[in-house]
Amino acid sequence: MKRFASALAFFFFCLTFSGYSFAGDKVAGEARYKKSCIACHGPAGKGAASYPKISGREVSYVKSKLETYRKGIKVGPNSSLMIMMAKPLTDEEIANLAAYLKDARYVNN
């Protein structure tokens, strides 16, 4: 019983402090997006020129893609560029970007 309680406590401890397991911060994600991504992917991830639309994707999809690029794995013709952009991203920044992009919508000004 004591062991079970310890395991449970450890589980909640991990959940609490892993951070990356939880939903990201959309506001922080938007700020990061505007710093590194907007010049290619356009406002709110709508896609621009030859750079694809990346908004409206599931959080898990964006996270997976960015983690793949961060590892240096090629997954398309602009991989080299994306690998460079993803390399400096932290787990938290990836989570924030994924959270922001899931619901990002382009509003024409």
């Binding site: 709508k46 080299s80 460079m84 024409n108």
Partner: protein
């Protein structure tokens, strides 16, 4: 009395001094226009270029869809689509888009009113022939078409391909922007004498810009049937249609109102965007071939992003390795502007015409798109350059006050002396000065 006199002297001096300062400041008496932007169209898919008739009719291209027209009354008609596009009066089964390639430039003939002729630049499979099997061989994949536009502006007919052999990149390569369809140039404009000028790109092939037998990394000057201007002066053995060579990716070209001289605007490869005054037969100085100028072998024989193309580095170090304007060429056309060594995606360009532009009349406007890589700030603006008479430098560059940041892809002057700008976000803006 003495005090009063001294005070008067001081007051006079102050007034004189203030007045003098105001003049020295440079703003007194300057006709600085008020500039504003309003949206003309939105919801487009990668609008790339526009072309106006005198009555305000506007033709425009969407890279992966095709050619359309917006009448002076505001109605739109889809005229000629790419393969698979829907809703167009006609389509070219050979026209396609991939990456940066697709339907790009558009311009009417100088005598459009009488001959109804329109020129359009696009990617096509029609002339691949036995080429295009690899990235390292001839690939005739970009063309210039000529159409007749119906009087009701609802259709085009009589397609004639007047240039069939502009080079195209068919496959992915080991470069940061390595997808197929890279660097097509694509801007077309009518210059002095009614000749057609065509900007092309290096299509990520190292030997292209300095090989004058191939149409890649060159500017063409041709007539309406695709024939070379008789006074073109390419290097010996070069294609006679070539006006200048040694370019990277010419997406901006226009002619200075005061003397008709051609200027190009080009993206740099993570260093040195450039504005360049062209010289007949001149060399832009871009040579991304491997094993030249002290370089070793490069990925897929293209040194355009080297050295160390997969990491950020000081743009000046890159510039020293593969310069945009290599001074080892005796026929080099030195750039008037190099963006302080940065590359931010300088693309289209148009000279500002009309007295409504005030102090900016005659300046070159250039659209700047991105990309902010490493420590390079993002572009997303329109700059206005006051270019020296000799075309070898600029006097000033001023950011156009628009109150918005966009990927400005296509710039052209309208008949109303407004500047029109297409953005990669899918809009066309009218930028007015008064």
């Amino acid at each position: 009395m003495k005090i009063k006199f001294i005070s008067a002297i001081i007051a006079f001096g102050m007034m004189f001094g203030f007045a003098f300062n105001a003049q020295a400041d440079g703003h007194q008496g300057m006709n600085v226009p008020s500039i504003s932007a309003s949206m003309v169209m939105s919801g487009l898919e990668n609008p790339w270029d526009m072309a106006f008739l005198a009555d305000g009719t506007m033709f425009y291209t969407e890279k992966c869809k095709g050619l359309s027209v917006r009448t002076k009354g505001g109605k739109t008609h889809a005229l000629y689509g790419m393969k698979g596009s829907k809703g167009y009066a006609a389509a070219g089964k050979d026209l396609f888009c991939d990456g940066q390639a697709g339907m790009l430039g558009v311009v009417p003939d100088r005598n459009f009113d009488s001959n109804r002729t329109l020129y359009v630049y696009s990617t096509s499979t029609k002339y691949h022939g036995s080429g295009c099997k690899t990235n390292f061989e001839k690939c005739d994949g970009n063309i210039v078409m000529k159409f007749k536009v119906a009087k009701n502006l609802k259709s085009v007919s009589g397609r004639t391909d007047i240039v069939k052999d502009i080079q195209y990149k068919p496959f992915e390569s080991d470069q940061p922007f390595g997808g197929p369809g890279a660097h097509n140039g694509g801007r077309i404009r009518i210059g002095p004498g009614g000749y057609l000028w065509v900007g092309t790109g290096d299509r990520h092939r190292g030997i292209c810009p300095q090989d004058n037998s191939l149409l890649c990394g060159v500017v063409l000057r041709i007539d309406g049937d695709g024939n070379a201007h008789p006074e073109n002066n390419p290097p010996a053995g070069g294609d006679k249609r070539i006006y200048t060579y040694g370019h990277r990716n010419v997406q901006g070209i226009d002619f200075r109102p005061m003397d008709g001289r051609a200027f190009t605007a080009e993206h740099g490869p993570w260093h040195n965007d450039e504005i360049t005054a062209l010289v007949n037969g001149g060399n832009g100085g871009w040579d991304p071939a491997e094993k030249r100028a002290g370089r070793a072998a490069c990925p897929d024989m293209y040194c355009g992003y080297e050295p160390n193309q997969k990491e950020g580095m000081d743009p000046a170090v890159r510039a020293a390795y593969t310069p945009m304007s290599d001074t080892r060429f005796g026929d080099l056309m030195p750039p008037a502007w190099n963006n302080n060594g940065f590359s931010q995606g300088t693309g289209s360009a148009a000279f500002l015409k009309g007295s409504n532009w005030g102090v900016y009349e005659g300046r070159l406007a250039a659209g700047i798109m991105g990309i902010g890589f490493g420590d390079t700030p993002t572009g997303l603006r329109i700059d206005m350059y006051d270019i020296a008479a000799d075309g070898l430098s600029i006097k000033t560059v001023v950011r156009m006050p628009l109150g918005m940041s966009k990927r400005f892809r296509g710039l052209v002057m309208g008949p109303d002396n407004a500047l029109y700008a297409a953005t990669d976000e899918g809009e066309i803006y009218k930028i007015s000065a008064q």
